[in-house]
């Protein structure tokens, strides 16, 4: 059967399942409460208020989107294996890599859908308070979307190695620690001796640098917009990592005994 059609069917089913999980409405309510609550704060001056709002948005939006992506992705395959729904799929002429690709795309669609809704909530709150959108906002949103894609793939891969809660915990921990990989290891790489240099270099290249997707400072301080081409390397970097994790998940799943 046509692989694209199979992947599409599985992805659509994964979105249907994700829509029925309770975490998405909970995250939505939290984001609404934050965006709405902050709109009533009046003790800042106008400029400070804008910066505070942007800061909060750049804290809440990526965290909630990554949480949505991880929670949508980490439970999909283990749950389907546990309740044998996956057996019904794999008893058809469906290849295992098609299952991984389909569930990844479905979880990604759910995560990006949540991300889009959260973004709209914050932008609506901006408009309501008459705050001009920061010039770097579009770039930031694109990079956060790439980060969602990366964490969806990471959560899926880890869920095939360990339990879903453990996969989710590792992903959330890495969400915070991953911001520090490049700033910490880059100076160490220059200063490392001959013996330790290979270890530092291995760590440097084997861990995704999440700070590439973080445009908090340009957004908060309303820096002038840079050409969109400037974020393309970061987009490709994130897409490359996501593709690598999906590929690793495919290799792992091919060997899984169900």
């Amino acid at each position: 059967m046509n692989s694209m059609r199979t992947i599409g069917l599985i992805a659509y089913d994964t979105v249907r399942r994700a829509r029925r999980r309770r975490h998405l409405p909970v995250l939505l309510v939290v984001a609404l409460a934050v965006a709405g609550g902050v709109s009533y704060i009046t003790f800042f001056g106008s400029k400070q208020y804008e910066q505070f709002y942007f800061q909060l948005m750049m804290l809440v939006l990526p965290l909630m989107s990554v949480l949505a992506a991880v929670l949508s992705s980490a439970w999909v395959l283990p749950q389907e294996i546990a309740d044998r729904a996956l057996h019904l799929v794999l008893a058809r002429p469906v290849r295992r890599w098609e299952v991984i690709a389909g569930t990844y795309l479905g979880a990604l669609a759910a995560g990006l859908g949540m991300f889009a809704v959260l973004t709209v909530i914050f932008l609506t709150a901006f408009s309501w308070r008459g705050i001009a959108f920061p010039p770097a906002l579009a770039h930031a949103v694109v990079l956060l979307g790439v980060q969602v894609a990366l964490f969806t793939a990471l959560a899926q891969f880890l869920s095939l190695l360990t339990t879903p809660p453990m996969a989710a915990i590792v992903c959330i921990l890495y969400y915070f620690l991953g911001q520090l990989v490049q700033p910490t290891l880059s100076p160490m790489l220059g200063a490392a001796g001959t013996a330790s240099r290979p270890v530092v270099w291995a760590l440097y290249v084997s861990l995704p640098h999440l700070n590439y997707f973080n445009l908090t400072t340009p957004v908060v301080h309303s820096w002038p917009a840079v050409p969109f081409a400037a974020v393309v390397p970061a987009v490709l970097y994130g897409a490359g990592w996501a593709a690598l994790f999906v590929l690793l998940a495919m290799i792992r799943f091919e060997r899984c005994e169900l």
């Binding site: 199979t6 249907r16 044998r84 729904a85 057996h87 799929v89 008893a91 002429p93 005994e257 169900l258």
Partner: protein, 259 residues
Amino acid sequence: MNERNTTTSVIDLCSLVKEYPAGLLPGRTFRALDRVSFGVRRGEVFGFLGPNGAGKTTTLKIILGFLRATAGEAFLLGRPARDVAAREVVGYLPETAVYPEYLTAREAVSYYARLGGLRGARVRARTDAVLDLAGLGDDADRPLKFHSKGMRQRVGLAQAMVHEPQCLILDEPASGLDPLGRRQVREIIQRLRGEGMTIFFSSHELSEVEAICDTVAVLHRGRLRALGPLDELLAGRTGYRTRAEALESFFVDTIHQAV
């Protein structure tokens, strides 16, 4: 990979061995299947019997490519079981499967029909046909969460048949069903048998096996203990009120001899 050119065998198992790791120490294994070989002929209803833990489900999983055999090979219509094309001809009903509860029976069966390669109007036509065959025509548009266990099992049978397979593999199809549900499932299997469908089903419900099977294999502790046409296996057993009783006696004796 090997290919078998069989005209009569739908399922062919050749010296299947399956070992699982036993504990953390490398090299320690538990042998779940030990050189199991048999064939299921086209149009045959084949009963695969064994007590709990005999290795029935492991065998089924190898036939469907969910597990890799440690040694030996399984074939479906001459193709290695792990070949994805081999599964085009097979319908599978697991012992317990959770169907998406938010879907109606029609939506669930349509989904599996599309995964099975059906398209367009054919999906609708086949879905309606198998839902009617499973006796679910009136309940097809109710969400599965409102279906009883027996109805869900019939939804399972419907999804297994929807893509017009040549062979049905049923794992404990009557498991957990009340007498009415069992009867309904048995009637469906008998109807399919009448249409010439090859049916391979594992069970420890001996009355079901006696009622519908042509050939029986008995598995115990991973080894094949008996194999043959039901009539031949029960030939020497007289003095029982029913054939089901004779089969039960044969089954118990076979297991005891093995122990």
